[in-house]
């Protein structure tokens, strides 16, 4: 028959076990952002323009190729890197040059970055260049947005939906 000492000891230990699990399973409360912050996520997956356009092969060149490789057009697959700038109220938050993916540098350039910003009204500017033959930027967008606290503003790029997206 267990004595009073051992029963008390067991009860205390079980209680401590339960208290530890019960507490740390939901405390302390975590604040991913400060109360007056919002989050800007800059992310895209975009295949930039090809570095060189397709070119017709001369008869001489075609002759040199194996018969099954004799395509009339030579299309280099390499793409330009994507340059992107993000400004907040005129100040540069980031400027990145993102190389295309893939061994042959022919895949999409991808980016994912997050910035904590103070909530409130902001002038958000996004500029992109996806074509090294063009000076300056190929796409840009600037807008004043009211960023409520805890809001996530996603800056994405989708040429099919009109280019730079702020959502």
């Amino acid at each position: 028959m267990p004595d009073a000492f051992s029963l008390t000891g067991q009860a205390l230990l079980y209680a401590a076990f339960a208290a530890c699990i019960g507490w740390f399973s939901s405390h302390p409360v975590y604040h991913p952002l400060e109360a007056d912050e919002a989050l800007v996520k800059l992310s895209f997956s975009h295949a930039a323009q090809r570095k060189a356009p397709c070119r017709e092969r001369s008869a001489e060149e075609l002759q040199k190729l194996a018969p099954n490789m004799r395509a009339p057009l030579d299309c280099p697959r390499e793409r330009w890197p994507v340059t992107v700038e993000l400004t907040l109220d005129g100040k540069l938050l980031t400027r990145a040059v993102v190389n295309p993916g893939g061994v042959a540098r022919d895949g999409p350039a991808t980016l994912y970055a997050r910035y904590r910003v103070p909530a409130g009204a902001h002038r958000i500017g996004v500029r992109m260049n996806d074509d090294g033959n063009v000076e300056g930027f190929t796409h840009q967008r600037e807008e004043t947005l009211q960023l409520a606290p805890q809001r996530v503003l996603v800056v994405d790029f989708n040429p099919g939906k009109g280019g730079i997206l702020l959502q």
Partner: protein
Amino acid sequence: MDRCFGARANPLRHLGALAYLMFWLITASGVYLFAFFETSVSGAHASVQAMSGRGLGGIARSLHRYASDALVLLVALHVLREFALRRDFGFRWFTWVSGVPLLWLMLFAGIGGFWLVWDDVALFSLGATLEWFDALGLFGEPLARNVLAPEYLDDRLFSLLVFLHVGVPLALLLGMYIHIQRVSRPDTRPAQALTLGTLGVLLALSLVQPVISAAPAEVARVAAALALDWFYLAPHALMYQWSPAALWALMLGATLLLAALPLLPHPGRMPAAQVDARHCNGCRRCVDDCPYAAITMAAHPDPRRGMEVAVVDAALCAACGICAGACPSSTPFRKAARLDTGIDLPLLTMDTLRVRVDAALTALRGDTRVLVFGCDAGADVHALQSGDTATLSLVCAGQLPPGFVEYALRHGAHGVLVAACAEDGCQFRLGARWSAERLQGRRAPHLRPHVPAHAWRLVHAARHDLRGLQAGLGALREALHAHAAMLPEHAHA
């Protein structure tokens, strides 16, 4: 702890077994939850929400969660304890190293569970995990884009999450199975009292504080406050505090360090047990008693002596000597000048032991002469040494063949005290248990029944338990005196 629970049900002595119990509880409650879970972005939150509160579903959900938390706590204590007892190297390296991946599997099995609830915590955790993996730069498309906007989220992703939450725990189970392969008779089932106590306390917690979900996940905002489960989700907070790369460095560094601990310089390994085929009859007692499954049987080189012979795998052998204590050839009454036995420890052979017993007995003086057998891992018996008390320490109490108790009593000792480690705290896992069972006649080789019960005593005393040791000796002497007083005429005859 032993005083409160008894060694059989002392949670600290059975942390691995408790972890197994938690795994089964998580599995059982998980199967229930899975039956009512809806695998879709739009339906998941509501289907989990329906299983909240104090109904059957709510209890299953709370048990699932709290048992998972308990698993982390128990495994953390298990690792600390095994490390504190220096069980991270030598013949135990396999068990140690195979434990390390279990930590990752446990973490990922648990974190993946939080995603399925698809509330604010789920979104935070999934996003943080994906960002963490993106930091490796191995993936073409950033994984975190999957939770960027509602249009990127689809039910296919959700099916993948469910698949992970079933698959990773299965891998964990496989890992748990591998982890105990080098341990014979692994302790994977806690004693009934401990099982009931643990289940009871988790059930009580589930009723007092049922697990609840946060608001449904919404990618367009970050929750202002998250009630994180710190047992699993603490790494996310660390990642945002530091950086994904720093968290990788910490996690990989800690993993490598743990896995490499067995490689650090350690006290040299003791030479393994050796079999002497001439004295082995193939009875398999040593195979049964070896705590580390280090002995197998092979065909006997000399069929006249037996069908089979024991073979020791030196890589697995802990050099505990428990096998020598089990071998029928270890009886000290054999006439040969040298006591050769079937299986023996080079460190302390049965022959040396008999020589030492003889010497100790000759040196004993006084009216009640006591010989104490102890073990190097338990309480230090040499502290009891005096004119009428001789002490001998073995590698493990399980190394003592019970015949030595009778031998000592017949050669001049009035009493014999055998001091073993705490029952479930044996350095070599099973030594204290086997030694008790052999002396009490429940396991071969037995202490022969005609050995008078008052003349010997078994005491369990852990490393620093000198008081327990002294109490055992005191009780033995008392029994010897009481017996002597009952038979005055014999004393004079």
